[in-house]
Amino acid sequence: MLGDGILKGLAETAKNFAGSFVSKERMTTVEYPEERLPLPEAARNFPFLVYDGDDWEKGLRCVACQICEKECPPKCIYIEKSKDKKPDYVGKPQIYPAKFDIDISVCMSCQICVEVCPFEAIKMNTEFELATDDRFGGLLLDRKQLARSNEYYHEIHPTEASEVDARLAEEKAKVEAKAKAAAEAAAAKAAAAPSANTPASAAVAKPQAPVEAKPATAGKAAEIAKAPAMATAASEPKPVPGTGTDGPAPLTAEDQKNAETPAKANAREPKAQGEPKE
């Protein structure tokens, strides 16, 4: 019969209409400002910088390596490196971002910065009610506005944050164990042959190396390592920070090692070239 199809369709509409009064399933809308759906744990909006401890400025994990700045697709991150250094979570002195701005009017919430950051320093926030009448300054967040505590991170992404914490703790334990072992070995060596060791270490170690190595071995091993710090630096060149202002930024621990090799070679080269000339 002509009109059958129309009636069938209308029956369907009527069913849905009536159903919306009785079944919660059919009421699919939410009155937004009053009612809010819980965000899923994976939700992401704009990045924030994680800090440990209470002081946001001291605790920032970011070491201003600028990888995220380079990888950010719309290039909305701007970083200025600091001149001085501060200890990071394993106690190694690192430069920190003197300026870290994200223009969230440009940011496209892609999470690439989070993925490429080797230091777990930048994570995605879930805040979305960021509307402002200030079109330029209001959406350009500086590092103070971006900083959020690790507790906050745990609050919004509990699973992910615990994984990150576990990873960091593991790394820290590894670094500490290594420093301790190195310090002990050096101490033993220094005790065995103090006179023989000193000239060798003086010859190999670059002037600034011992200075930087001292805080690197800090932590539990600091007390043991204090006296033979010079020897440690000579026999154990790994803690020399590769995150200097020069050269490409190091990535993971092994990348860091690789990155250090050319730097060391360069340091030696002038000597090798210089000697024959003179």
Binding site: L2, D4, G5, K8, G9, P40, A42, P73, C110, V116
Partner: protein
């Protein structure tokens, strides 16, 4: 206005009505439909020349949403381009991700873990369901069934987008696939939720079918309108549901067996007439086939890693070479062509957008029909302007 190089005399008139020229009475009227026309799904213009109600000429004008996608892709790293592919066809970001990942994986010879392959299939089929549902919703909306069918489609789509959000973090800009797998693993809770949503999909498709499939007005307006001949479709590179509605059996999932599609049993729905109704029906049936693929994939989803541990995220530099990765996106054949010269960014990056190429036959389908039908024919092509203009 030759039909794209088709010389055959018999074909010449197929897509065209017998009378092209004005009958001499009255004047021709030039109308610009768009760029801000509710039916254009974005900013798209059709310059139509009308003789009374009949279309005797139609010129698609696009580029309003051009964002320099390909050039952008060439100026940044392979990884940084991934989020931009979300923004091509913003209804189906996950299939875009997959096609791009596939191209890069081909370039470097990257293997993908089993579980990631399954997840990709699940996500791609979910994408197909929600895309087809909303396409049909929009089509019916343009037909005058304003609101209701579209809202029903969106109600269902919302459930799928919620799944996307809880897995990838974003409803539409998922940025989920990586070269060598997927970014994060799906939790058991997510799999459970997906099972539930998939279990509810057949009921939705049934409802949608009862709702309008046999509606007399719909049939009167869709059947025999906007016919696309198979020969013309093949010759002009049409792909996807549009090609299959014209009766050409060509589905890249069956042809290429990319991913793990050869493990699933599914049929390829084909149309007979190539009119709007066939395109509508093909999409309906494809949703059913997608649901069957989803059930199979969810049944034997293996455990394991979702990312090849050897795959590189930072310092990704493929060796010099070229590759073309293509998939059956909901809208048709989506391909990414890459040439690498060994540097961190592609030397050449090119997208083969199904929407854009499917749009090239718009005039051939529209000639001789009424203005009101132009809107319908256009809606049945299923385009997204983000992909057309790139």
């Amino acid at each position: 206005m030759s039909s794209f190089g088709i010389k055959n005399e018999k074909l010449a008139g197929w897509n065209r009505p017998p009378v092209f020229e004005s009958d001499g009475e009255g004047e021709l009227l030039e109308v610009a439909m768009g760029p801000h026309h509710p039916s254009t799904h974005g900013v798209f213009r059709m310059d139509v020349v009308l003789d009374g109600e009949r279309v005797i000429k139609l010129k698609p004008v696009f580029g309003y949403l051009h964002r320099n996608h390909e050039q952008l892709g060439q100026t940044q790293s392979y990884l940084a381009n991934m989020p931009y592919t979300d923004r091509l066809d913003y209804f189906c970001s996950l299939t875009n991700n997959w096609a791009y990942a596939l191209a890069v994986e081909k370039l470097v010879g990257q293997e993908v873990p089993e579980r990631a392959e399954y997840l990709r299939v699940i996500l791609a089929e979910l994408t197909r369901v929600q895309n087809h549902a909303s396409t049909i919703g929009f089509l019916l909306q343009e037909m005058g069934a304003s609101g209701t069918p579209l809202m029903y489609a969106f109600r269902e789509r919302e459930k799928i987008l919620d799944l996307f959000e809880s897995l990838t973090g974003s409803r539409m800009m998922c940025n989920y696939m990586r070269f060598g797998g997927c970014r994060v693993d799906a939790s058991p809770a997510w799999i459970e939720a997906t099972r539930k949503v998939v279990a509810g999909l057949p009921a939705f498709v049934d409802e949608f079918e009862r709702f309008l499939m046999t509606n007399e007005i719909l049939m009167a307006r869709c059947q025999g309108i906007g016919v696309l001949r198979p020969d013309l479709a093949v010759n002009s590179g049409i792909s996807g549901p549009m090609l299959r509605a014209s009766g050409v059996n060509y589905d890249i999932r069956k042809v290429d067996h990319y991913g793990i599609y050869d493990r699933f049993k599914f049929r390829v729905p084909l149309g007979d007439h190539g009119d709007i109704y066939d395109r509508y029906m093909v999409r309906m049936l494809e949703m059913r086939e997608s649901i069957s693929i989803l059930n199979q994939a969810l049944k034997d989803l293996p455990a394991g890693p979702v990312m090849d541990p050897k795959a590189k995220i930072r310092n990704f530099r493929p060796k010099a070479g070229e590759s073309y990765g293509r998939i059956e996106a909901p809208k048709g054949e989506l391909g990414f062509y890459l040439i690498s010269d060994g540097s961190p960014n592609p030397y050449r990056y090119r997208v083969r957008p199904p929407s854009f190429i499917n749009l090239t036959v718009l005039e051939d389908m529209c000639l001789g029909s009424n203005v009101a039908d132009v809107v319908l024919i256009f809606g049945s092509v299923d385009i997204v302007l983000g992909e057309v203009d790139r």
